[in-house]
């Protein structure tokens, strides 16, 4: 196998990853820059992090973003898991084509269209723009990402387990919570995390659907970036990257442990 992994392959991977990571690494390095100039190195300093925490409006925006993220990710995970179940377990029902269309379209839909259309809906039904409308908008587009993640896990799922439980008299609800959910849990968790990061990340849809008092962190960062690159924003970005990277690494470690545990259990079951 190693022989087929030629020098060309290794070089292209190294260059590709350098391209993907260099900008982020530079951004992190320059958040520790002493100078106000973002691109000229003038010595190590953490003063911009201090500045950041004294910036009340940025902190407020971060708090709004965190609440919108947790709420919308939770609801998106529930709805997305349901949608995934509907798509994999019910191969024919009326309007299935429309349903799967509505699940897949938001994945590629330009954000300006989604944002504008949701805003016009909220105006039409007379819902005041603010925390609630941003959350509703985020649930809507992130539930589709959750659905895709969970669906791909459900497709490789051994249905005979569910059938066995049902044959033994378990209700579908009980079967779901005792058999299906534990097996697809890693996918559900990564769906939640994906939804949370999508919400944390979103500028365009939030700008359309948000109102006074519900400025999210990306909106705040965006309005500052338009005025120029500042080390304070670099610091804010570094913290965000740190949070997300820690989350992803912990999740993948947990997944791996569960996987190992599952393999051991299966081996034990086979021996027994």
């Amino acid at each position: 196998m190693n022989a087929t992994w030629s020098r060309f392959n290794i070089v292209s991977i190294v260059l590709g990853f350098a391209f993907l990571y260099l900008p982020i690494v530079l951004l992190i390095i320059f958040s520790f820059n002493e100078s106000k100039l973002v691109t000229v190195w003038a010595g190590f300093s953490t003063k911009w992090y201090g500045e950041l925490f004294r910036n009340q409006s940025l902190m407020d925006a971060a708090w709004v973003t965190a609440r919108v993220g947790v709420l919308s990710a939770t609801f998106a995970t529930i709805l997305g898991t349901m949608a995934a179940l509907a798509l994999t377990r019910y191969t024919r029902f009326r309007g299935r084509v429309l349903f799967s269309g509505m699940v897949f379209a938001p994945l590629v839909m330009p954000e300006v269209i989604t944002g504008l259309s949701l805003l016009l809906l909220f105006v039409a039904i007379g819902l005041d723009r603010g925390f609630l409308t941003v959350t509703l908008a985020h649930i809507t587009f992130s539930m589709c990402f959750v659905a895709v993640v969970v669906q791909s896990r459900l497709m490789t799922f051994d249905r005979s387990l569910e059938e066995a439980a049902m044959d033994l008299g378990a209700t579908p609800v009980k079967t779901f919570f005792q058999i299906t959910l534990p097996v697809i849990l890693p996918a559900v968790i990564s769906g939640w995390m994906l939804a949370f990061t999508l919400s944390l990340d979103d500028l365009v849809i939030a700008s359309f659907t948000s109102g006074p008092g519900a400025t999210t962190l990306p909106m705040k960062i965006y309005s500052q970036v338009r005025l120029g690159v500042t080390p304070e924003i670099n610091a804010a970005c570094t913290i965000l990257i740190g949070i997300v990277a820690t989350g992803v690494i912990i999740a993948s470690l947990v997944n791996k442990r569960r996987e190992v545990q599952r393999l051991r259990d299966e081996q034990a079951a086979n021996r027994g």
Binding site: L27, T39, P110, I113, L161, D167, F208, C237, S252
Partner: protein, 322 residues
């Protein structure tokens, strides 16, 4: 093992499940469909109908800033009156003004060129990953996905500091003596290409990787044993087998890139025309809701065909996954 023995045990068909709980089972089964279905109908489909309706309305100095607004209390006749006020003026205005036409054309061109470069850069990465030792692959996969988890806005922002005239790239190139005048990259089309390729690269690499990973590489060895040169083996074997991944990857990059707002706004400067930015400006600067709705409708119509291709590719992948 245990699973198969259970499955082969005499099993009742779903219809023969004990009477109690069947209606409940049916209802809960239905709810799994009904709840997300209703949610998406109300918050995804209905909003598009509203966008379409408002695109036929006139701008008005009011809140909401368009007329006619539906007034249900006016009854059927009132509703009919408001229908008669609809017009296609906004669309005529859009097709008349070269600004909008240019914005649509340049969005598609910029998105297509960026997609091509993303494929050119993404393919060797995906290929390298697919040929990597099986033990390294999960790590490589995680490394491709990780940037996707970090904020889009942040990743675009990072490039401003690199590309600007006194930025890191120019500092580096002048330091090495390759150039002696700073290159002007920020606020040009080149910056937008870099931004789109960079931001959407994971979307290209992942489907390519999943297509290439499934490939049987003994086919290439066989071709080479039979005297086929590596380059024509690539075009005759690898490329066609990677086609589903190429199609999915290109659509995943092209469709959202066409309507992209953040990248042209932050990296492209004031003179670049892209439709996402035009829509944003119509809405936020000119406060012209009907025209921005019309812009959105036309953008959507342009993307319907590639979206249907995407849909089909997804459905096909789903069938194969079964």
């Amino acid at each position: 093992m245990a699973e198969t023995t259970l499955a082969t045990a005499p099993s009742a068909s779903p219809a023969a499940v004990p009477q109690q709980g069947t209606w409940l089972a049916a209802l809960t089964g239905r709810l799994v469909i009904i709840i997300p279905y209703a949610w998406l109908l109300i918050l995804f489909l209905v909003p598009f109908l509203i966008v379409f309706k408002i695109s036929l309305s006139q701008t008005a100095i009011a809140m909401p800033p368009y007329s006619p607004t539906f007034d249900l209390s006016a009854g059927i006749t009132g509703l009919w009156e408001s229908f008669r006020e609809f017009s296609f003026d906004n669309y005529l205005w859009l097709t008349d003004d070269p600004l909008y036409v240019n914005a649509y054309v340049s969005s598609v061109v910029i998105a297509a060129i960026s997609t091509f470069f993303a494929l050119l850069i993404g393919f060797p990465i995906a290929y390298g990953m697919a040929r990597a030792p099986a033990t390294v692959r999960p790590l490589l996969l995680m490394l491709v996905i990780l940037p996707f988890w970090t904020s889009f806005l942040i990743r675009v922002y990072a490039w401003i500091g690199i590309l600007k005239p006194e930025g890191l790239l120019n500092q580096f190139l002048i330091w090495t003596g390759i150039i002696d005048q700073p290159l002007i990259i920020l606020n040009t089309h080149t910056a937008i290409f870099i931004g789109i390729v960079y931001s959407y690269l994971p979307f290209m690499v992942l489907p390519l990787y999943s297509a290439l990973e499934k490939m049987d590489y003994s086919l290439i060895e066989a071709a080479q044993d039979l005297g086929c040169p590596p380059i024509s083996a690539f075009w005759k074997i690898t490329f066609p087998l990677a086609m589903p991944g190429i199609v999915a990857g290109c659509l995943l990059v092209f469709i959202p890139a066409t309507g992209e707002f953040v990248i042209p706004d932050l990296l492209g400067g004031s003179q670049t025309l892209m439709i996402g930015k035009t829509l944003w400006n119509e809405f936020f600067s000119n406060r012209d809701w009907p025209v921005s709705s019309a812009v959105a409708v036309i953008l959507l119509l342009m993307l319907v065909v590639p979206m249907m291709f995407f849909q089909q590719a997804q459905a096909k992948a789903q069938e194969q996954g079964r």
